[in-house]
């Protein structure tokens, strides 16, 4: 056969035909743009979230690794290198510490990093770096933080730094030369020395305390099982510690699953809408295509015409969506990501081309999938069929037996084209369900709610000198009564604190010590901890925290304590607080036990009445010793010290929560005092509120657009269906169906659409919301359905479903019956 150049004709046909249906084109562009925009938003949340997590890890660890072994032997290093999932290993050995520089105590540890550690694991952490890694023995490289601590604010490569270095066997004064300096994400006080220095320092590469093997795996997905197997194969000695990051993979997996799930929902919604628009418009044009076929257009050419049209429209819709998405991503998402990850204060969204490529690709994919089937069916239809069949895809059910009541007719009209009806239900359902889920997430992330659940007090004033050797008593009786005299203040509760020595730690705290040493120092209690306590008793103190009567009463009520206030004030019983998962069991054993302690040479004892569960009590007590705090009464502490005990912080209740005026008055009172820090509930609320607002905007946009896609689909299908039925409606009118009866029938159709999709959305949407809520409920908040939002949505959806049919009918009804009968 001759190959005919007919591109031009096809192009022209596609274009002329497209002009026939401007509304369809606009709808398609809108659908494509909305779907693309949301894909951009979702991908960008996912990718940024992951980037920020990584950054946070870098700044926490100070180098880029996901596994570590302390004091590795040659053999172990080789075993690690041989491991399947290991990509790189790097060595670092802490050789010496800078003790003093020109009389200033510094305490900077200097580390030798091998080539791998330097190149692969440290480079990603540096923000900027001047100079080069030390080569000669006397060269040193320091972080800007370390230099600052030494009082060097304008470092220069080559400058001579005379310093006193603490080797493992004693202090030595040496002149070092600065070979380079850097600033990194960790902002740590640290430095590096040359290989020669390290070799001459006498530290062995398997020194347990100072030598570390840093490992990078080729994949973030390391299971705990694998971690255990690795550890096994390393045959660690008793003091060695091996760690592999198993959480990053988990996290990445969770992020990926969420992103895929949301992107999936968006794609399905987009698919449903685009499919229906294309399907309906092709159905309208079936005659035209039939004619094209009878005059010799091939199936392939017809398919090409259809695809050409959709590609033209995508060329407008996709870029529009990408731009909209970029807007959302750049203004909202960085802030959003920061609020989602604790510990990250700021984040600047980077331009990530991959997001736009992905979003563009997936929306194009969605479009092609949506169009493929209708295009195929229209292309494969025989010309005769096409000319004859006006209602493409309608399967006539044979021999129906339902009566022709108005309700029955409505039911049949809805399901006249089963597939289309199901698509509409599905998209309404998805839209409304997503809306329900998103608005419930927003509702339950309400800042006020979280603050109430955390029992945050209206205002807390903190003494900054708490941790210092020279504590300053800023919260004197005078100061407290001054605060009390402020108009909106209901009560001021001073919380005092006093260090004590625990006199029989090994007997009374035995169950506590083992896990605590492991967590806090990474050492074994029996082997090293016990000795550490003997060597440096000043590091192992306990704290008595003093409360006033009201706070005691609150605590008594909350924990259902049985002790009397008298016993409490006399210091006979106390409550242990601030427990964590790892030490709770050990401390729980202390309930109803006696604890011996010493204060200024007086030997004393106290009974423990209750041990709080992990996170049961949140408090801002600032100096925490090795042992958990014991809560006693202020009166008791005052008697013990014989004077005003040091007040660590003040808890202030307002007459009215969130009272701006009182807040300002207190703040202006402490403004001048450099020893006082504050935590205002209003400020916390405002901080949370800001991020909450961003969440709200973002969530609302997503929910709204998904709901919109569903409703658009419904509107599109329904109005076309009524238009195409205008003749049937005229026939009904000619044989005596009154306008009222027709309206009733259409209302019933709307009720069926609204009823079915609402029923499912209400059930599934709310259960899903509740499920997500319970899975993520860290603050033990009680669930609240976003009633107003939901009712608004349900009413709005129902309203559209119910009244749209009649609205469209009113529009066509302007023609007389005769015209409607004629128009076909």
């Amino acid at each position: 056969m001759l190959k005919v150049n007919n591109r031009k004709v096809i192009k022209r046909l596609a274009r002329t035909q497209m002009k026939q249906q401007p509304l369809k084109n606009r709808l398609l562009v809108l659908a494509v743009a909305l779907a693309t925009m949301m894909l951009v938003a979702v991908f960008s949340i996912g990718i940024n979230y992951y980037t920020v997590l990584n950054q946070r890890n870098l700044s926490m660890y100070g180098s880029d690794y996901n596994g570590m072994l302390t004091g590795p032997t040659e053999e172990q290093i080789n075993v690690v290198k041989e491991m399947k999932k290991v990509k790189t290993v790097g060595m670092a050995v802490g050789s010496v510490t800078v003790a003093e520089y020109e009389g200033i105590a510094v305490g900077t540890s200097l580390v030798w990093a091998d080539e791998n550690h330097w190149q692969e694991q440290l480079q990603p952490v540096f923000i900027h770096l001047v100079g080069s890694y030390p080569q000669k023995k006397e060269e040193v490289m320091l972080s800007e933080k370390a230099l600052k601590k030494m009082g060097v604010t304008q470092p220069e490569v080559g400058m001579v730094l005379p310093m006193s270095l603490a080797y493992y066997d004693g202090l030595r004064d040496e002149e070092m030369i600065l070979s380079g300096y850097f600033n990194d994400y960790s902002g740590k006080n640290r430095g590096f020395i040359s290989k020669t220095f390290y070799q001459q320092s006498g530290i062995k590469s398997d020194d347990l305390d100072r030598s570390r093997l840093y490992i990078n795996f080729s994949t973030p997905f390391i299971s705990e099982q694998e971690e255990a197997e690795m550890e096994e194969s390393l045959k660690l000695n008793k003091y060695q510690h091996f760690f592999a990051d198993t959480e990053m993979g988990d996290m990445l997996f969770k992020v990926a699953v969420s992103v895929i799930a949301i992107a999936g929902v968006i794609m399905i919604s987009g698919y449903l809408l685009i499919y229906n628009i294309v399907y309906i418009s092709l159905r309208k044009e079936v005659l035209y295509f039939g004619l094209l076929k009878t005059i010799g257009t091939t199936s392939r050419q017809i398919r090409e015409i259809v695809f050409r049209q959709i590609i033209l429209l995508s060329m407008i819709g996709i870029p529009a969506g990408l731009i909209l998405g970029a807007g959302i991503s750049n203004y909202l998402i960085p802030k959003l990501v920061v609020t989602m990850i604790p510990g990250v204060v700021s984040f600047r969204g980077e331009f990530q081309p991959v997001i736009y490529v992905l979003a563009g690709f997936f929306s194009l994919l969605t479009i092609f999938i949506s169009v493929a089937k209708p295009a195929k069916s229209i292309a494969q239809m025989s010309p005769v069929e096409a000319v004859k069949q006006e209602d493409m895809g309608v399967k006539q059910s044979n021999k129906s037996k339902t009566g022709s009541s108005i309700r029955g007719m409505a039911w049949r009209n809805v399901f006249r084209n089963k597939k289309q009806a199901i698509l509409v239900f599905l998209s309404l359902f998805i839209g409304m369900t997503s809306f329900t889920v998103v608005s419930s997430i927003i509702k339950n992330n309400n800042a006020k709610k979280i603050l109430e659940a955390l029992e945050v007090s209206d205002m807390e004033l903190l003494n900054r000198s708490s941790g210092d050797d020279n504590q300053v008593q800023v919260f004197s009786k005078d100061f407290i009564s001054q605060i009390e005299s402020i108009k909106g203040v209901k009560a001021v509760h001073p919380v005092s604190a006093l260090n004590i020595d625990i006199t029989k730690p090994h007997e009374q705290f035995s169950a506590y010590l083992k896990p605590e040493f492991e967590m806090a120092y990474g050492v074994d209690y029996e082997k090293e901890g016990r000795q550490m306590m003997i060597d440096r008793p000043e590091n192992f103190f306990g704290t008595l925290v003093g409360l006033d009567s009201q706070q005691f009463q609150q605590m008594k009520k909350k924990f259902q304590l049985t002790i009397s206030e008298k016993e409490f004030h006399e210091g006979r019983v106390g409550v242990i607080a601030r427990t964590l998962e790892h030490n709770y069991q050990g401390l729980k054993a202390l309930e109803n036990q006696r604890i011996d302690y010493r204060f200024e040479n007086r030997l004393l004892e106290i009974n423990i009445d209750y041990v709080t569960k992990p996170f049961e009590l949140f408090d801002s007590i600032q100096y925490n010793g090795f042992f958990p705090e014991i809560y006693v009464s202020n009166q008791y502490l005052d008697r013990l010290t014989g004077s005003e005990t040091f007040v660590d912080h003040l808890v202030i209740d307002y007459q009215q929560a969130y009272d701006q005026e009182t807040d300002l008055e207190i703040l202006s009172m402490i403004k001048e005092n450099k020893h006082i820090d504050h935590e205002s509930k209003i400020e916390r609320y405002e901080n949370m509120k800001e991020s909450e607002n961003q969440l709200l905007i973002m969530g609302t946009v997503i929910a709204f657009v998904l709901a919109l896609l569903g409703l658009l689909n419904y509107i599109n299908v329904l109005s076309t269906s009524i238009f195409s039925r205008s003749k049937d409606l005229a026939v009904l009118s000619s044989i005596g169906m009154t306008t009222q009866q027709i309206k009733k029938m259409l209302l019933h159709e709307g009720m069926i659409y609204a009823g079915i999709s609402l029923l499912f959305s209400v059930i599934v949407g709310n259960s899903l919301s509740y499920l997500i809520f319970s899975l993520t409920n860290v603050y033990e908040i009680t669930y609240e359905a976003p009633l107003t939002m939901l009712l608004l949505l349900y009413f709005f959806a129902a309203w559209i479903c119910l009244f749209l049919p009649n609205l469209v009918y009113r529009f066509i009804h302007r023609d007389s019956v005769v015209d409607q009968l004629r128009n076909n």
Partner: protein, 223 residues
């Protein structure tokens, strides 16, 4: 008794230069049980006349009585209700409802009126029109002739005062057309049914009791 009386019917479309006088002063009447054929060239106003008689559109001038009711006195909805009780329509393009089966199509006007269906009578109509075995068939599965017979059955079902048929055989081949016409004539005689039928075909018109001729919206002859 007269089933239908038309008095000075006028229907103008458009205005000024575009004014079309589709009907221009037509008066006539039809006796009960009479079978009348309306003939005339294309564009002479036949369909317009029929629509006016059936109250499907509003007149520019004139009055139509069906039995004793002046239909111009009725509101739109009253007219619709009147139509389903007193007038049966048969169109050239059968105009059956695609989602309703044969039986449902036929009884729909009665059900819309909230009346009880006279099953025996419907069965009789179905048998008379040769549709007894197609009772639960969907319209799309029927031939043109069968579809038009269903339309006739639907028009008959409510025992209307008059049946108005606009080229009921226009879409049928001549043999089928004759079958359908024969049935129309037969039902007219059997149930004493008044029928006004438009046709292009003079041979078919001869089957009627009386022929009305239209030309440019005017009555040409009434014989």
């Amino acid at each position: 008794m007269k089933s239908l009386r038309a008095e000075n019917l006028k229907k103008y479309y458009g205005a000024g230069n575009n004014l079309v006088k589709a009907l221009d002063g037509i008066s006539f009447s039809v006796d009960a049980g009479e079978f009348v054929a309306v003939v005339g060239t294309s564009g002479s106003g036949k369909s317009t006349l029929l629509h006016m008689l059936g109250g499907l559109d509003t007149l520019t001038e004139g009055k139509v009585w069906i039995e004793h009711q002046d239909i111009s006195q009725l509101s739109k909805d009253e007219l619709t209700i009147f139509r389903r009780r007193k007038i049966g329509f048969v169109f050239q393009s059968f105009n059956l409802l695609p989602l309703q089966n044969v039986y449902e199509n036929i009884v729909l006007p009665i059900q819309l009126d909230g009346q009880k269906v006279d099953e025996e009578y419907i069965q009789l109509i179905l048998e008379t029109l040769g549709l007894a075995d197609k009772k639960f068939e969907m319209p799309n599965n029927l031939s043109g002739g069968q579809q038009q017979r269903v339309a006739i059955a639907r028009a008959l079902a409510a025992k209307p005062a008059i049946i108005l048929a606009d080229e009921p055989t226009g879409n049928l081949d001549s043999k089928t057309a004759l079958d359908v016409l024969g049935l129309l004539k037969f039902t007219s005689k059997k149930w004493h049914q008044t029928i006004v039928m438009i046709t292009h075909n003079d041979d078919f018109a001869q089957l009627a009791d009386r022929i009305i001729r239209l030309e440019d919206g005017k009555l040409l002859g009434d014989d």
